[in-house]
Amino acid sequence: MKCRVSLLWLALSFTLVSSREIAQRDISREYQIKAVFLFNFTQFVQWPEAAFPTPDGPFLIGIIGRDPFGTYLDETVQGEKLGDHPLVVKRIQSPDDVVNCHILFVNASDKADVKLILEKVKDKPVLTVGDAPNFATLGGMIRFLKEDNKIRIRINLEATKKANVTISSKLLNLADIVETQPH
């Protein structure tokens, strides 16, 4: 009897594993695209000169919160440069480090956490990107949202203007434009 139970468990655990793997793969694909999008933002967004302390200093893509990209993002930016600035991916440990980033991917779903982080980079030339449901309306600049199995972009134009980060009209063309809403 004990044997039968253990067999059942085994079968169940297999099923669990495989369904989790499929979910994992979907997530991976999604973040694969998002990693490319993050990189593509460097092509459509302009940062002020002041964002770069040195002419050949690194262009930092920071990830705060859990890193959902695995190695994808590192692979995508591998060897890439923006002007003279080499692209570097940085996992942020301390919230104080976020101000040095040029792109900051915020992986937080909690509204308070998001607000806290956004507060840290307020008015700084840091392009904040996230996929929290109300990331843009909370004051984040770009939000990824999934629609018909496709990644769409929502932009808070007001926030970008305040941060002195210029987004290409081409990009704006594809995106939904939202404003910061009081929460």
Partner: protein, 611 residues
């Protein structure tokens, strides 16, 4: 005249229209080419600009995988109807979006071709990179219809055809108005030339209407007419003169062509044959004047000359038989020469009627025959008389010897029997009688020998003359007749003659020479010869007494002597015999001499044919 008129005008018109069409075609071709090239370049620029805009607009859509936006951007191409297809590819070359929506995806290239523009037969295809900043995000493909180019070219072509037609019409109308200035004087000239050719009237002159090249041509034409007129006059004069000369010729002059047709016939020919010039011209010569049995030979002769150039009867005087109009045949003397002028062959015959001459010749011939007969008769009479005479003189001589021998015998007896009884005077007289009877005997012997010679037949053979002379001289040497004489014998060729009598000639001439040079201190004798035309002339020369050339005609007479017997013995028969022998051989004999300066005797014989 009408043909000439349309010809020059037609040519001018054709030239003008041809130039017009050629110029227009050339211009249009250049214009076409320019239009074609600029059109293509323009379309290329347009497509490039359009493509750049679309590519630029598509960057974000490609970067952020937004097919909807991409389709919207491509759909904007609807405004440009000539874009028949467009498509976007991502950076991996995968089709991302296309236009128009209902286009079959298979008609689009996949993956996209290399960047650039390519013209194909009906469209222009452009491939552009889609780049944001420095990043290539994908590729844009555009297909642009150039049907419009062809439509445009077709319209141009229609325009060109219409233009050529219109301008040709215009050129024709202008030509109709303006051509008269050029063609009229030329046509006038042509009409003049035609009139001259028609009427052979070289006194007509063309009227000069302008001072241009046509005017110059008119002048040159008129000058040429002047020259032709002059030459014509000269030619006519020369021809008339020639005709007068031909007509005044005593021979009939007939010219025929290579076919044997008569092309000239002078007055004399009219008289000889009885055909007038007008009747004879164009007739077959053979049928006109040659007797029927000679016609074939005549025709073959002409053919043979044409084919081979051999004319054995040409340029020779021949006697032939001809026939008159009335059918009478008569003898003619004829010479024919072939004349070749400008590759046209003619034969010219000079004919003389020799009927009268033939008659005269016949008469002379008859007369000559009579004469010859007469000569033969007379000669035989003379020979008969001569024989009689010779026979007579022979018998007389022979008969004279008997009484002479009797006289001689009796005088000898008288001297032997009664010698001692006779005184000196009687002895002297008897001796005179003896001597004279001996001399008479000698005379009779010589006379007999001489007359025998007249009857003797000669037997001719080749005589080795040098041997014969050597032999004769030897004999004289043996008899001591030429002890002191220097004898010089030159080259002596052989000759034909009778051996015995010719030897007699040498004996007589050499003995004469020895005899008459005997009294000289250094007697010399020279024998020699020279040859000319089968005749050998021999000579015997001495330095003896010679003779006076005044008595030359007596030299060869019988019993004729130029010296007394006391000076030089002899009967006076030797040279007569020599002359007779040489004459019988058909040769000649003569002598040259001076008193006391020697004499030279010459005689000729026929040279030996084989020598």
């Amino acid at each position: 005249m009408h043909i000439g008129k349309t010809s020059i005008q037609g040519k001018l018109l054709r030239v003008i229209l041809l130039i017009n069409v050629a110029v227009l075609l050339f211009t249009c071709t250049v214009f076409f080419a320019y239009e074609y090239v600029t059109f293509r370049q323009g379309r290329l620029r347009e497509l490039n600009a359009l493509g750049k805009i679309i590519a630029s607009n598509s960057t974000a859509a490609l970067a952020f995988d937004d097919r909807t936006t991409a389709r919207e951007i491509l759909n904007a191409l609807q405004a440009e109807t000539r874009i028949t297809a467009a498509s976007l590819y991502d950076k991996n070359g995968k089709l991302f979006s296309h236009f128009p929506d209902d286009l079959a995806v298979t008609s689009l290239p996949s993956p996209p071709p290399a960047d650039g523009f390519v013209f194909s037969s009906d469209c222009l295809e452009g491939v552009l990179d889609v780049t944001q900043g420095t990043k290539r995000l994908g590729t844009l493909y555009l297909r642009y219809s150039i049907q419009a180019l062809y439509e445009r070219m077709t319209v141009y072509l229609g325009l060109v055809v219409i233009m050529i037609m219109m301008s040709s019409l215009l050129a024709y109308l202008l030509f109709r108005r303006l051509q008269k200035r050029i063609s009229k004087p030329i046509i006038a000239l042509a009409e003049t030339a035609h009139a001259i050719a028609d009427r052979q009237d070289f006194s007509v002159r063309a009227v000069k209407e302008s001072e241009d090249e046509v005017g110059l041509f008119t002048d040159a034409f008129n000058e040429m007419l002047n020259q032709i007129q002059r030459q014509n006059t000269a030619l006519t004069e020369s021809s008339d003169r020639l005709r007068a000369v031909l007509n005044s010729a005593l021979s009939g002059v007939i010219v025929i062509d290579a076919q044997g047709m008569i092309i000239d016939w002078n007055e004399r020919a009219e008289k000889i044959f009885g055909w007038s010039r007008d009747e004879a011209l164009g007739q077959d010569l053979a049928a006109t004047i040659i007797p029927e049995n000679h016609r074939d030979a005549h025709r073959k002769g002409i053919l043979h000359f044409i084919n081979t150039g051999e004319g054995p009867v040409l340029n020779k005087l021949m006697e032939l038989t001809a026939v008159r109009r009335n059918g009478n045949e008569f003898p003619v003397e004829l010479s024919v020469s072939a004349l070749k002028a400008n590759s046209t062959l003619t034969f010219c015959g000079f004919i003389t009627d020799i009927t009268e001459r033939k008659k005269t010749e016949e008469a002379i011939h008859t007369f000559n025959q009579k004469l010859e007969q007469m000569v033969v008769d007379r000669t035989s009479e003379l020979q008969f008389a001569n024989h009689e005479l010779e026979a007579f003189s022979y018998s007389v001589s022979h008969d004279l010897r008997a009484p002479l021998r009797s006289i001689h015998g009796y005088v000898s007896i008288l001297l032997e029997s009664y010698g001692p009884m006779l005184d000196d005077e009687a002895h002297r007289i008897i001796n005179v009688i003896m001597r004279n009877s001996q001399r008479m005997g000698q005379l009779i012997d010589d006379l007999l020998a001489f007359s025998r010679l007249g009857r003797k037949e000669l037997s001719r053979s080749n005589i080795p003359m040098d041997e014969m002379i050597e032999n004769v001289i030897d004999e004289f040497r043996r008899s001591g007749a030429c002890e002191n004489t220097a004898i010089n014998i030159h080259r002596i060729p052989p000759a034909l003659g009778d051996h015995t009598t010719v030897r007699q000639v040498w004996v007589n001439l050499i003995s004469n020479a020895l005899k008459y040079s005997r009294g000289k201190e250094k007697p010399t004798l020279e024998i020699g010869s020279f040859e000319e035309n089968d005749v050998v002339t021999y000579y015997v020369k001495d330095n003896g007494a010679g003779f006076d050339m005044a008595y030359y005609d007596k030299l060869f007479g019988v019993f004729q002597r130029l010296h007394s017997t006391k000076e030089f013995e002899g009967t006076g028969v030797g040279l007569a015999m020599v002359q007779r022998i040489i004459f019988k051989h058909g040769g000649k004999i003569w002598a040259e001499a001076k008193v006391n300066a020697g004499a030279t005797f010459y005689f000729t014989l026929t040279a030996d044919g084989q020598a």
